[in-house]
Symmetry: C2
Amino acid sequence: MDPRIEEHAEVLVDWSARVEEGDDVVLSVGPDAHELAVAVAEKVGERGANLVTTYASSELGRAYALAHEDDFDENPEYELALYENADVVLSIGGGRNTSEGSDIPAETRRAQSKARQGIREARMDTDWVSTVHPTRSLAQQANMSFEEYREFAYDAILRDWEELADQMANMKEILDAGSEVRLVKEDTDLTMSIENRTAVNSAASVAYDSHNLPSGEVFTAPHATEGEVFFDVPMTIRGERVQDVHLTFEDGEVVDYSAAQNESVVGEILDTDEGARRLGELGIGMNRGIDQFTDSILFDEKMGDTVHLAVGRAYDSNYPEGYEDEANESAVHVDMITDVSEDSFMEVDGEVVQRNGTFRWEDGFDG
Amino acid sequence: MDPRIEEHAEVLVDWSARVEEGDDVVLSVGPDAHELAVAVAEKVGERGANLVTTYASSELGRAYALAHEDDFDENPEYELALYENADVVLSIGGGRNTSEGSDIPAETRRAQSKARQGIREARMDTDWVSTVHPTRSLAQQANMSFEEYREFAYDAILRDWEELADQMANMKEILDAGSEVRLVKEDTDLTMSIENRTAVNSAASVAYDSHNLPSGEVFTAPHATEGEVFFDVPMTIRGERVQDVHLTFEDGEVVDYSAAQNESVVGEILDTDEGARRLGELGIGMNRGIDQFTDSILFDEKMGDTVHLAVGRAYDSNYPEGYEDEANESAVHVDMITDVSEDSFMEVDGEVVQRNGTFRWEDGFDG
């Protein structure tokens, strides 16, 4: 077995999910994620934890969803009981076709998603972690050869996470102490309040309230957003390629938008509900193991020298107890990314924190 | 998709498991059984049932078992809750190496099996059905090309089950009315009591108390066995090839045994416990879609023109309520098969029921 697969399993089980003796672990395996699943099963066994393995095939899920009429039973008890009694859920993505779900009607998808809300919540109440096993289909989506993609994925996943967590702690400290963030670059001058918010040091571990592997971002939930922002990283939203999105905010809300490609997709998202016009997330990508965009949000938004903003739903983890503010609510959470490696700076309370991709505490910082 | 796969799925879901709207279905999928699993998911969706899919990989199971120390937690609650709340469990075997579990120490296997007894029982309390998707590894075990093996497997699985159930009902009727069975062929003259027993018409459907697809046998639980029997069909028991077993019974117990190959394996089995020296099953193979031995008990024992006997554990389904006899108990249940297509006959209460493979109610029967 490729030693990187064993390392990946070890990071997932020990660093990310902190699996311990007696834990009830659900392992969800994509059809092409078999090898990583075997390595993970071994680690789970070594830790003396219990194991139930589920099969996450989008082809199977599509066949089921298309054949079923739209009145799905709500939160079937047997599945709910599995997750309500589980301590840890490890999901290893890795299928054979990232477009497999493309012809499931939106109505079916919504009906199924609604009927399964309780199950989703029960999963989220565990120490869950999602990762991907590098597959040929993900390589294709990234426009890379399989070997090149594997190098890319393991560079992102097999970090010194403890060291990166320490680096990110600097950023969290600054954000937690600060009141206002300002981001300046080409066609961008945006200010956001971060008053009464807690930043999350997303270090790919449940110990840091972080549930993705790889991770490597510090994020918070901004509000009272003012100004304009330009997202120069192309992305796929709802199956469409969207480029060069530009948003203008007043009083915390998007009042104007444009895009060079598929502008209507941006409009649809913003029109979803009231919360979709407000920001739900400001994230600072700090994983320098990720050095190119691969059209996968799990990787793209963590890339070093990038900043992303999401319109829509905010995470509860950014709202400290004792304050009255409630997390921005919306049916959507859509991330958009901007490159800050050149000709850019970010300030917190008027002091420059990052310029041209280099942070204040790093060598070569030019405040 | 091969239309036989869709037919297989339909037989499994409708004939075998009788899946209905609202049923909570667990589908267990082997690593190479993906295609059948997709077809089954579609049928389960069409019926309006719920679906949880588990991944049954012997490679993963081996990695977990070898890494775990032998003190397995007893019946972990989350897994127990899944099966206790399920209505149907469909298992689709189909891995990549039928020998994958061969280096798991017997002690580990026993410890794990013992710790999981409650989960096994909960699964058996559902309408469970086991089948296999024809894979390259099963073809290899059968010493066949993949294409040849697929033909073989679908001939066995895609029967007119209703018609076969009617044929088998004749045999069940004779056994239920009878008191004694006598089997005569080369080196074989065996009598068994079937007094106070109910025969099972194993027609590959939970509606017939039958949980394997393919099936096609009528079986009962004989006792007071006397005489000798010769098993001329080679088989693999505990990983060893065993040939030409000959058993001698007195007062229901094996008093002498021999085998042309691996006689010691037979001895080990008979020495397991007290029940291992008594018969647990007499089965009459009636699936003429199975016309050759493939070293897989799921298929071999159902083959038309064969009879099999098992030493060890009997099935409760052969013991009618209201009688005091309890099912023969043992840690083992080992089937051995004899060919009755030529130079043989079987009598019930002195009347010939089958001669040279032809039953009394069939054309060409020569009583």
